[in-house]
Symmetry: D2
């Protein structure tokens, strides 16, 4: 399916600032960017580079306002996995580059959640896919989706007890629980179809069998519609904008439309959208 995504970000500046944006759609074999534009007002021509598997744009401000507008048309072909018996790999079996996604990170304190996760989820003789699905169902049932109850520094350690939050909090908790159960997990930022109000979305991937599979405990948007932007240990790695200097965020607008009549569907099988 084809989607049209658009993001506008506005900043007010009281002096020279440096900006790092992570808003551009990824290019991979599941996701083809057929056309796109990135337009910047009030800053130097941005330079693009790949980092941590994602596309970043760097720039310096010129003047008192900075405005970025990104739009793209993206064709998605996520892969539905037929094998539901995907196992959890042991530390000894995992590829080297995946190991870092077992470690605790800024918002996913798997080290502090170890006893909780093992007491709540272990010993149920589940396959890897069943176990991560069980984690997602638990989050969906226990955590209330609630705007304004959390802030940008809320973490999985908070959410596991406070039990309210938004998509990013759901993703962080899913990641932290997976890591505490010995399953590598990473954060995914994306455009997602049908969010109300429209916004950037967050979900996560778990490493099962021999690759990454996507999970979203919020059930707010079909995973097959996610136009992926960034991947990392958690939201700290995939912020749509990191800046240094006297800048103030003055709002954004995100939109996403389908290019045709078909509506994306929710699936319960494992789904692959990155390598």
């Amino acid at each position: 399916m084809r989607y049209r995504v658009k993001a506008e970000l506005n900043y007010g500046l009281k002096g020279p600032c440096s900006f790092l944006f992570n808003v551009a759609a990824l290019q991979n074999r599941f996701q083809h960017v057929t056309d796109e534009s990135l337009h910047l007002e009030g800053g130097e021509t941005p330079t693009e580079f790949m980092f941590n598997g994602a596309r970043f744009h760097r720039t310096k401000s010129k003047g008192p306002k900075l405005r970025l507008e990104y739009q793209a048309t993206v064709a998605l072909e996520p892969e539905i996995e037929k094998n539901l018996d995907l196992p959890v790999r042991t530390l000894a079996e995992l590829p080297e580059e995946v190991l870092v996604y077992l470690f605790p990170s800024r918002y996913c304190q798997s080290d502090s959640l170890l006893r909780f996760a093992q007491s709540e989820f272990m010993g149920k003789h589940l396959t890897g896919f069943q176990l991560v699905t069980h984690v997602c169902n638990w989050i969906y049932e226990k955590v209330a989706y609630q705007r304004g109850a959390t802030t940008s520094i809320t973490s999985a350690f908070d959410t596991v007890t406070e039990r309210q939050g938004v998509c990013r909090d759901f993703a962080h908790l899913g990641i932290a629980l997976c890591r505490a159960l010995g399953i590598p997990a990473r954060f995914v930022s994306a455009y997602a179809y049908g969010l109300n109000p429209p916004d950037f979305h967050a979900a996560f991937e778990a490493y099962l069998g021999d690759r990454w599979y996507m999970f979203d405990a919020t059930r707010l948007s079909p995973q097959s519609s996610f136009v992926r932007v960034g991947m990392g240990r958690d939201a700290a790695d995939t912020s749509f904008c990191t800046f240094f200097g006297p800048a103030a965020f003055e709002g954004m607008k995100v939109t996403m439309e389908t290019d045709g009549d078909a509506k994306p569907q929710f699936v319960t099988q494992p789904i692959t959208a990155s390598d």
Copy 2:
């Protein structure tokens, strides 16, 4: 100078466990491992791999006890930098692979420390080297080195207010403050000469000018004597042992000796020991 380092780690196991060790001395142009041995009892022959710039050993347990003994002779040739005017690079100037060390991490919540760091350290017209030195002096003066007052989940956000801790807490605070000031910073684990009692040590590196420079706010051991083991965003990336399964840590012993008569000296200039 040449050093002889040794580490013994012991674990009791109630079932099969996977282990990831990060205890072996790095090989780089400042640090030559002239001979070494890694001996493991109670586990499969470990496989070595490089990750995140460090040497890791992976194994699976066999039996109720696991014991690792590592020893090495290492010749150190750290480089003293003559240029004291090392500047802080802007976000736009930094190499891509360094950017991740600007992001907040598990124990270094630079996002939460932003206003504090800027209020306390900004606007003093210091060079980059002076600024990081100022951060280290501040930590040394304000934070009491105190065993037992902190735990393995204590973070920079705690230490900036509680003002007590051990080498790892000092390093985490230094890193978090540097990142909050726009300076990439990373954690370094090492063998260090003269610690009493002997133990693994922790320090940090800041990216200034065109490379990494080492800093240690504890002043417990000369930086020129550090035999470096791991580097990463914080202690979560450089744990000497990560395991999954029913293992219990049963103690360790770390020793370090000089090979000759010369004693390592403290230096106040920038020092380089990694690329």
Copy 3:
């Protein structure tokens, strides 16, 4: 001066709930309630009682909505203290009933702030009044008044580093720092003149010499205009509404007007408004 205060609180209920309100103006020799009314819709006739020096109203809900409307006319006669040399009393000198205000509380973790407070504020040979004024000035200068950056569980331990918040966060930090310096301090909730937008206000009192004196680090409203409602260890004791059961807060409206032409003035001397 005479003030007219009014508060309306609205709740939606999904079942029977119990409510405890703390919105009525205190009666004491500095504050005379000349007329007042408390009107409740959707609940049983509330019973009033004094607790912890404040007036509470208790009720049970009847039906799907509960609405409280309180209004009062209050004449204020705060006392300006002439003695600026008010000392800090030692633990041994303090009245017994004041000691509890030295202990750490929910949002005022003076135990964790001890080293910070002593490093930052001790040893300056200040009188008690100067010391608390110094604490307030520090908060005013270092902490940004910022709506939406904090939540109802933000505490002094957060604010001392994050350095942003609202009146309640300013008060919590002032209290925690005073206690860490050995000065009993308590939270005060109040109606305050001139707030924009109008809202309940929060400030604090410190025990100096032989009584409580009021301090407000926000500088948003003259202390001489505060119509005091509750006092306690922190906001946990003085919530305008505590409930148990399936209730949801649906908004409130607070207003305050002067009865005459005179405008309340800011004062820099110690001011007393409770015993």
Copy 4:
């Protein structure tokens, strides 16, 4: 049964300090102090006063060392309640002076635990006594009793997830969960028989029906042997020693012996030991 309790506390001082001790056995109708002595070296003769239902001793230091030795013989007659149907009282039914024990406190953040507690424990149609017993059993089963894993600033919010700690952590979690369930709860410090190693103990009381009943989720000592010392919102109110000034704790020794042959028994019925 009669018990002999003894506590010795030692402090090193670098200047004048004020001390507040809470180590003396309570006198009430369940607990008779038949003889006792409090001996202080290095301080002024302490003055005793009652506060918050407990006995406190205040003093100022003289000289570089302060040593307190307290001993007492205490006859205990706790009351076993026959009524197992003790109900939870609603906010509207509770005595006024009990309400404060519903509020969150320093180490018992019932506000943050609300959703967790209600999801885990509500809706099971239990009597009050069954509900608090269920909370205690849950804590006993989920939380590992582990010395050294927590510090003096560990709180119920930490323990509910980290799931390890000592008696004080168990008590804080029990209190926080009760409050989150609408049950007033308070902290109790005590001498307790049979602890190994001997130490001060902590437990909690919940208000059910028309009085306080004692609970101890650790199962380390029979509740009928507790010689009660202090009561309060949490450990912040019942610290065996609070001091201001340059003092350092240099260790303590606590002992407890029975006066006869009979051994105290564990009971599963409600037990009353304070009013």
